[in-house]
Amino acid sequence: MKVLVPVKRVVDYNVKIRVKSDQSGVETANVKMSMNPFDEIANEQAIRLKEKGTATEIVAVSLGEQKCQETLRTALAMGADRAIHVVTDAELQPLAVAKCLKAIAVREEPGLILLGKQAIDDDSNQTGQMLAALLGWAQATFVSKLEIADGKATCGREVDEGIETIEVTLPAIITVDLRLNEPRYASLPNIMKAKKKQIDSLTPEELGVDVAPRLVYTHFEEPPKRQAGVRVESVDELVGKLKSEAGVI
């Protein structure tokens, strides 16, 4: 079974996010970029499936500027077999990404598409679901436990009530959650081997996809700074402040 693993290049989770001075977006110049941590978990799961013999080939996919190749190299160094880079400098929104991934899925015919439940930059949490709808495949989202056997995937999903277990028929889209696994380090020998692995470049036009944004961002701003708290002397004073100042009772 071939597994497709879309990976997104995002601002590293350790970086303190700053809004650009003109409020047009988040500052990414001279900022450390990394693979979206949830996509890293998806890639790790694909590698484990391959190690178990369930998967036969792992194809990592990334969309965006030239530098996305760095993210793909990381995926290859972790253990993906080859990579596809959809090169574009356009702003990419979830629907455009889902359409490109659909076009790649049609070409590659994977048995499974494993991706992060969301990217930590815009937190859209839409790409997996849209891709499932476009392909007409089953989907399991927020998966933190995964077993694959006999053409079916048994998925433990993290929901408010606890873990919900569902079964989906392959091919399917599975979006992964934090607790599914702990991704490995790209080991030094594998980093060296990744050098020889292939990255194919495509454009959205070659895939026949119009990636023009459908949504318009008006502006970005930093969250308001948290005000310092006050110490109250009595319960009466607390209740008074909750009524008069906080307005919550």
Binding site: Q69, E70, Y185, L188, P189, I191, M192
Partner: protein
């Protein structure tokens, strides 16, 4: 010239940095507080380092290492250098390149087990009476039939307590020199447990908590001829041929530690407020940051340029001396200023700064003092002019 990193170099830096931050940093407080690196902890972290291919990565691929070129190896050393020295040296060991000088039998016995993480090596040169002046060593090896008999004392021998064997340099004879007779040196493999070989605990010291030094005593310690590393009386040549870039290694670890101290200083200067504004707004603080950044950049360029030259076979002794001198003195300055920017908080063990400041001190002394480096540099300048 190309100053960019290749994809492989970037990934190696990323893996090493992530390993250092996730697997080493969490144990630093324990090692710093107790001064002891627990063996169970070492085994646990070492296993992870082996899985990540970081263990003994300095070694050539042919003997089980990662086969890094010098520049890439120094990038890796820089990242490891961020952490407590005992942790990174012991859990992510880099066996001495001198082990590559051994015969096939010696490689089986010493090199491969070190690369696999089954044994640790240590190097014994320094003596109470022979520091920078190594030729002044008094410990001797004399022939007795086919055997060698070793006598004398070595001290400041790093991590000899955990090492399974010591590559030991002994005065084995004399040859005529220009002014006075010169000692001839021979290198030996000495296994722990060899009769007449004792390892005693060394001294408590200011730098690198958890990383021990030991005193080695040889009292009629008898070794077979097979214990000789390299050629008899050619110990210095063995050391010079195989230990070439250790000064760059020291310098590279200083770069990582300085970066870590600097990141704290920058963060503090941009968040700490006094007199109604961020302290980074005061020129007294901001100019310190600028000077630190310049020193770091200069040291980094010198270390990596020397590493690049080393790979091309053009690195000179003076070039490596300059790089080591600059990087170690830069770390002293950056660590000191990072504390100054923090004020009292910089001295508290909540932050790694007091440790980096303590650890910085040894770097200007070991692997050749700053004065020896200056001597090497100045001789390279003056010798061609006959001065």
């Amino acid at each position: 010239m190309d100053f960019g990193l290749t994809d492989e170099q970037r990934l190696i830096v990323e893996t090493t940095r992530a390993f250092v931050e996730n697997e080493l940093y969490p144990h630093e407080a324990e090692v710093e507080r107790t001064g002891v690196l627990r063996r169970e902890l070492v085994e646990e972290v070492k296993a992870k380092a082996i899985r990540a291919g970081l263990y003994a990565a300095n070694m050539p691929e042919a003997v089980g290492g990662a086969g890094l070129d010098t520049l890439t190896w120094l990038l890796y050393e820089k990242e490891l250098g961020r952490a407590n020295y005992a942790l990174h040296w012991t859990c992510v060991a880099r066996p001495s390149n001198i082990l590559l000088a051994g015969t096939p039998e010696q490689r089986e016995r010493y090199l491969y087990p070190c690369v696999r993480g089954e044994k640790w090596d240590c190097l014994a040169m320094t003596e109470p009476g022979a520091g920078s002046d190594l030729r002044g060593m008094k410990a001797t090896a004399r022939r007795d039939g086919a055997d060698w008999v070793l006598n004398g004392t070595k001290h400041f021998i790093s991590h000899a307590d955990i090492a399974d064997f010591a590559v030991t340099f002994m005065a084995s004879g004399e040859e005529p020199g220009p002014r006075a007779p010169r000692k001839l040196i021979t290198a030996f493999f000495v296994d722990k447990g060899t009769p007449g070989f004792t390892v005693r605990p060394g001294y408590g010291n200011v730098s690198h908590r958890g990383y021990t030094n030991a005193i080695l005593e040889f009292d009629d310690c008898r070794l077979p001829a097979e214990a000789v590393l390299g050629e008899v009386h050619r110990g210095f040549e063995v050391a010079n041929n195989w230990l070439g870039a250790t000064r760059l290694q020291v310098g590279a670890t200083c770069l990582g530690r300085a970066e870590r101290a600097f990141a704290h200083a920058l963060d503090w200067a941009s968040t700490r407020e006094q007199f109604g504004q961020k302290i980074g707004r005061f020129q007294g603080i901001s100019f310190k940051l600028a000077d630190m950044a310049v020193e770091m950049k200069a040291a980094e360029l010198m270390i990596f340029e020397a590493g690049w030259a080393y790979d091309r076979g053009t690195a000179t002794d003076a070039q490596m001396a300059m790089a080591k001198l600059k990087a170690t003195e830069m770390l002293a300055m950056v660590a000191d200023e990072a504390i100054q920017i923090h004020g009292g908080m910089g001295l508290m063990d909540e932050l790694p700064l007091e440790r980096i400041w303590r650890d910085a001190r040894v770097e200007r002394i070991w692997e050749g003092t700053s004065e020896i480096q200056r001597h090497i540099i100045s001789r390279a300048l003056l010798r061609p002019l006959g001065a």
